[in-house]
C-alpha cells in the first residue's frame, strides 16, 4: 500500500539552519498523524513541505505515490487549516468556503451548495452570509476547516489548529476533529506543541527536536516507552534517570525513565526504597504533583488528590514497580 505522505531523507536548510534534517517519514492513508515538538523543532516546516510552501533542500517527498518536489501548492491535492485561519476578510463565509471550488471553475450554484454542505459538516449551517470578522475564534476555526474540506483533499494539514482557542473550546474541538476524521476517512496531519493534544487525538505521533524525528509511535509507545531522554522529558515530563541510578535497579548502565505517576510515596524506610526529601507540593485538582530531592536527583511524582501527604521538607521513601522503569536506547 502506498503511503499517504512519504519523506525520504528530506532536509530543508535555511542558510546554515537545518530546519529539517534528514527526515524519514511514512504516513499511512486514513490515519490521524501528529507532529509534536517544541517551537523551532522543524515540525511546521515539515507541514509546509507537505503543503508545498517549502521545497526540500534535498531528499524526496511523495504524496500518495506522486513525487511532490517542485509541485506548487495549487497543484497538490492537499489542503491546510492555518494557525491564524487566514480567512479572506473581503469575502463572506460562504464565499470563503467556496473559494477553492471557485478558482477551479465550478459553477456558482454547485459550489454554493457544496459550501453549504461543508458548513453543515462543521456545524455552522446558515452562517454563510456573515463576514469572518463577525465570528468568534472557534467559529472561524470551523470555517477554515470547512474551506479546506470542501475541496475533498487527500491529506488535510492542520497547523496548531487549537492553539488560539480557550481550554473548554479546545477540548470540544479535539473530540470533534477526531470524529470528523473518522467519518471522512481523510488522512489528517496536525502540528502541535501540546503533548496532551497529540496523545489524545492522534493515531501515531512523531516527536521532533532540532529538525530530526526523535521517535515515531502510537501515543502509548511514546508515553510509556520513550526512546530518548528528550522524548521522556518532553512528553508528559517523565523523570529521566541517570545510568548509575538505573544500574542499581535494572543491572544495565543506561538512561532510564520513570513516569511521575509510577512513584509511590512512603513515610518509613522499607525494602529497597529511595530515600528522598519532599521539596514542594503543587495542587493540580484531580492530582497533586510533588517535587522530590533524592540525594541531589530531582524527581517528580504525581499522586491522586486526597492522598495523605507528608509535609514539605520531610524525609520520605520512594518506591516503584521495577517494570515501570523504562530503559532508553541511549547508553550511559
Amino acid at each position: 500500500m502506498t503511503s499517504a505522505v512519504s519523506f525520504q531523507k528530506v532536509s530543508r536548510h535555511f542558510g546554515s539552519v537545518r530546519a529539517v534534517d534528514m527526515v524519514d517519514l511514512d504516513i499511512v492513508p486514513g490515519e490521524f498523524f501528529a507532529m509534536l515538538g517544541p517551537s523551532g523543532s522543524g515540525k511546521t516546516t515539515c507541514l509546509r513541505l507537505i503543503a508545498g510552501f517549502e521545497q526540500p533542500t534535498s531528499g524526496s517527498i511523495s504524496i500518495f505515490g506522486e513525487r511532490a518536489e517542485g509541485v506548487p501548492p495549487y497543484r497538490r491535492n492537499v489542503n491546510t487549516v492555518f494557525q491564524d485561519y487566514a480567512l479572506f476578510p473581503h469575502l463572506n463565509v460562504l464565499d470563503n468556503v467556496a473559494y477553492g471550488l471557485m478558482v477551479k471553475g465550478v459553477g456558482k450554484l454547485e459550489r454554493q451548495k457544496a459550501a453549504e454542505e461543508a458548513l453543515s459538516l462543521v456545524r455552522l449551517p446558515g452562517y454563510g452570509a456573515r463576514r469572518p470578522s463577525q465570528l468568534s475564534g472557534g467559529q472561524r476555526q470551523r470555517v477554515a476547516l470547512a474551506r479546506a474540506l470542501v475541496n475533498q483533499p487527500k491529506v488535510l494539514l492542520l497547523d496548531e489548529p487549537l492553539g488560539a482557542l480557550d481550554l473548554k473550546l479546545r477540548e470540544n474541538m479535539q473530540e470533534e476533529l477526531k470524529s470528523l476524521q473518522k467519518a471522512l476517512g481523510i488522512t489528517f496531519v496536525f502540528v502541535t506543541h501540546d503533548q496532551g493534544e497529540a496523545l489524545s487525538m492522534a493515531d501515531r505521533v512523531a516527536v521532533f527536536n532540532d529538525g530530526k524525528i526523535m521517535q515515531i509511535g502510537t501515543p502509548e509507545d511514546i508515553y510509556q516507552r520513550p526512546k530518548t531522554r528528550f522524548v521522556a522529558d518532553f512528553v508528559g515530563s517523565s523523570n529521566v534517570l541517570p545510568p548509575d541510578f538505573v544500574q542499581r535497579y535494572s543491572g544495565q548502565h543506561r538512561w532510564g525513565s520513570l513516569r511521575p505517576e509510577s512513584i509511590r510515596i512512603g513515610r518509613a524506610a522499607k525494602g529497597d526504597g529511595v530515600a528522598a526529601r519532599l521539596v514542594s507540593t503543587n495542587y493540580l485538582g484531580a492530582t497533586t504533583r510533588l517535587a522530590l530531592d533524592a540525594d541531589g536527583l530531582r524527581l517528580h511524582a504525581i499522586v491522586p488528590a486526597g492522598a495523605k501527604l507528608p509535609r514539605e521538607g520531610e524525609a520520605v521513601v520512594l518506591t516503584f514497580n521495577r517494570e515501570h522503569l523504562h530503559l532508553m536506547d541511549e547508553p550511559g
Binding site: 487566514a86 476578510p89 473559494y99 478558482v103 477551479k104 470578522s133
Partner: protein
C-alpha cells in the same frame, strides 16, 4: 490635567484659534470672490461689482483648455505609472526579505522628502545629459517620482496589515499566482490603491516646481496660472481656473481620506 473641569477652552484660546483658521482660509475665500469681480486689471477690495461673465470667458479661452487637458493627461498617466510601480515595490518590500530592502524603501520615499527644486534640477540635467528632448513624457516622469511615493506608502501600510498566510491559503486552495492576485490581493489593497492614486493625481495636478524644470514649451495648468498672474489681462479668469483646481484636487483628497479611514475600520475589526 483638568479632567474634572469644564471642557470648554478659555476665550483667549478660542479667539487665537479662530484667527489662525481665518489666516489660513480667508485668502482662499478671496480668490473665490475675485472670480466674480467686474474689475479686470487689478484686484481691488471691495470688488466694484459682481458678475458671472468670467466663467463664460474662461470657457471660451483655448489656452485654458489646452493647459487643463495637459494637466489631466499628465496626472492620469503619472498616477497610472505610480500605481503599477508603487504597488510592485510595496509588495516586494513588505512580502520578502532581501539584501538592501531598507535602502530601497528609503530611496523610494526620498523624492517626496527632497525639495522639488532639487528633483527638478536633477531631472533636467539628467534629461539634457541623456539628450532627451522635453516633452509630455518628461513631465510625466518628473511627476511619477513623487506619485510613486504616495502609492507606495499607502500600499505598504495595507500590505503590512493583511496577513501573509492569506496568500498561502489562496494557493493552498488551488489558486495560481494570477488568480490569487485577482481574487485575494487586489480586493484587499484596492481601497489603499484608490486612495493613493487619488492623492497622487491631486499632487501631480497642482505641481509647479518639478514641472518648470521638466516641461519644454508646454504649460500645465499651474504653470499657465503663474504666467497669467504676470500678464494682467482678464485677471479674474485665473481665479475661475483656481476655483476649478481647488475643486479638482480637493475632491480626490477627501475621497481618499474617507476610503482609507474605512479601510482602517475594516482592518481593525478583523482582529
Amino acid at each position: 490635567m483638568r479632567s474634572d473641569g469644564s471642557p470648554s477652552a478659555p476665550l483667549g484660546l478660542k479667539v487665537a484659534a479662530a484667527c489662525g483658521l481665518l489666516f489660513l482660509h480667508l485668502p482662499i475665500f478671496l480668490i473665490f470672490v475675485y472670480a466674480f469681480t467686474t474689475e479686470e486689471k487689478s484686484f481691488a477690495w471691495p470688488p466694484p461689482g459682481l458678475t458671472m461673465q468670467w466663467f463664460a470667458v474662461t470657457w471660451n479661452r483655448p489656452d485654458v483648455w489646452e493647459a487643463l487637458s495637459l494637466s489631466v493627461r499628465v496626472a492620469a498617466i503619472s498616477t497610472l505609472v505610480a500605481l503599477v510601480l508603487g504597488t510592485l515595490c510595496a509588495a516586494a518590500v513588505s512580502r520578502t526579505r532581501f539584501f538592501g530592502r531598507e535602502t530601497i524603501s528609503l530611496l523610494v520615499i526620498l523624492p517626496i522628502a527632497l525639495p522639488g527644486i532639487i528633483t527638478g534640477i536633477a531631472l533636467r540635467s539628467a534629461f539634457s545629459l541623456a539628450e532627451i528632448p522635453f516633452s509630455f513624457w518628461t513631465i510625466v516622469l518628473g511627476h511619477a517620482t513623487f506619485c510613486v511615493v504616495v502609492v507606495y506608502n499607502n500600499a505598504v501600510a495595507r500590505f503590512r496589515r493583511t496577513s501573509g498566510s492569506m496568500i498561502e491559503a489562496s494557493m493552498d486552495l488551488g489558486a495560481d499566482g494570477f488568480q490569487t492576485f485577482r481574487h485575494v490581493v487586489l480586493p484587499n489593497i484596492a481601497t489603499a490603491l484608490l486612495a493613493g492614486g487619488m492623492l497622487a493625481f491631486a499632487l501631480s495636478f497642482d505641481e509647479v516646481i518639478v514641472t518648470t524644470f521638466t516641461a519644454g514649451q508646454q504649460q500645465t495648468l499651474p504653470i499657465w496660472m503663474l504666467e497669467e498672474l504676470i500678464r494682467p489681462r482678464q485677471r479674474p479668469v485665473t481665479n475661475v481656473v483656481a476655483m476649478v483646481v481647488v475643486l479638482v484636487t480637493l475632491l480626490p483628497i477627501l475621497v481618499a481620506y474617507y476610503l482609507t479611514r474605512d479601510g482602517d475600520q475594516i482592518a481593525g475589526s478583523g482582529k
